[in-house]
Amino acid sequence: MTINPYVPIVGLLILGALFALFSVSVAPIVGPKRFNRAKLDAYECGIEPAPTPIGGGRFPVKFYLTAMLFIIFDIETIFLYPWAVSFDMLGLFGFVEMVLFILTVFIAYAYVWRRGGLNWD
C-alpha cells in the first residue's frame, strides 16, 4: 500500500484549515458580548480619513503597476526554474537562450526605470 506523496500535504492543509475554522467559530461563542454602538464603528483617528473606503475609495495606480511588474518577473522566474534544474543537460545552447530571454525583459525593465515607474514617489 503506497501513499501518494501529495496526500500528506493535503492532510496538513485540512488539519490547519480545521484548526483555523474551529478557532474562528468558537471564539464568538465563548467570548463575552457587551453591546456598545461605538464599538461597532470602524476605527478612526484624528481628522476625517482622506480615502473613504465605503463607496468611492480609490487608490494610487502605483499599486497596479507594482502588481503588473510582479507578474512579469514572476513569469520570468517560473521559466528560470526548469531551466536551472535541467541546466547541466542544456549546456551552452541553454545558456545563450536564457541570456537572450533575460536581456529582452531587461530592456523593458530599463524602460520602466527610465520612465520612473520604479520610483514610489
Binding site: Y64, L65, F79, V85, S86, A108, V112
Partner: protein, 178 residues
C-alpha cells in the same frame, strides 16, 4: 472508476461551479475569490494528470499573481462592501453563449476521442519540461520574452501617463508648485 477518475470529476465540478459563481456573484471581491477556487481546482486537475510542475506554476502565476492584480484593479477603481447593484449584465444571452460554447466543446471532445484510451504519459517533471521548452520549443520561448516586454511597456504607458519623458515638463512644474 479509479481514484483519479473520481478526483477529476470532483475537481472539474468545483472548477465549473466556481466559474459560474464568478460571473453570477454581485460581490466584486467575492467574484475574485471564486476565481481563485476555480483556478485552484484546475491546478488540482493538472496534478491528478501528473503534470506537477504545471500545477504549481498555475498556482504561483494565476492564483498568486494574476488574481492579485485583478483584486488590486478592483480595489483601485471601486470595491464596495456588499453587492454592486449597478452591474449591468444581460443574463440570457450570456447563458446561451457560455453554455453553448461549453457544451459544444464537450461534445467535440467526446466525439473526437469516443472511447479511445490513452496511457498516461510519464509525469511532467521539471527536468522533462525544461528539456522540452529549451530544446524543442525555443522559438515560442523567445517570442514570449517579446510578449512580456510589450506587456510591461504597455502597462507603464497606459497606467502612468503622468510620468516619463513627454510629461517631464509638467512634472517639474508640479514639483515647483509643491
Amino acid at each position: 472508476m479509479t481514484v483519479a477518475d473520481v478526483l477529476l470529476l470532483a475537481l472539474g465540478a468545483v472548477a465549473v461551479g466556481a466559474g459560474v459563481l464568478v460571473v453570477t456573484s454581485a460581490h466584486l471581491v467575492r467574484s475574485g475569490l471564486y476565481l481563485v477556487v476555480s483556478l485552484g481546482a484546475m491546478a488540482g486537475l493538472y496534478l491528478v494528470l501528473g503534470a506537477e510542475l504545471v500545477a504549481w506554476v498555475q498556482i504561483l502565476v494565476y492564483v498568486g499573481a494574476v488574481v492579485v492584480l485583478l483584486l488590486f484593479a478592483v480595489m483601485l477603481t471601486r470595491a464596495p462592501i456588499g453587492p454592486s447593484t449597478d452591474l449591468d449584465r444581460p443574463a440570457l444571452p450570456a447563458v446561451l453563449i457560455g453554455g453553448g460554447a461549453g457544451l459544444g466543446l464537450a461534445a467535440l471532445f467526446a466525439d473526437a476521442f469516443r472511447w479511445t484510451f490513452y496511457a498516461m504519459p510519464e509525469p511532467g517533471t521539471a527536468e522533462r519540461v525544461g528539456e522540452q521548452i529549451f530544446g524543442g520549443w525555443v522559438l515560442p520561448f523567445e517570442v514570449l520574452s517579446i510578449l512580456l516586454l510589450s506587456a510591461l511597456v504597455g502597462a507603464i504607458v497606459l497606467s502612468r501617463p503622468d510620468i516619463g519623458a513627454r510629461a517631464a515638463a509638467t512634472a517639474t512644474e508640479h514639483e515647483r508648485g509643491a
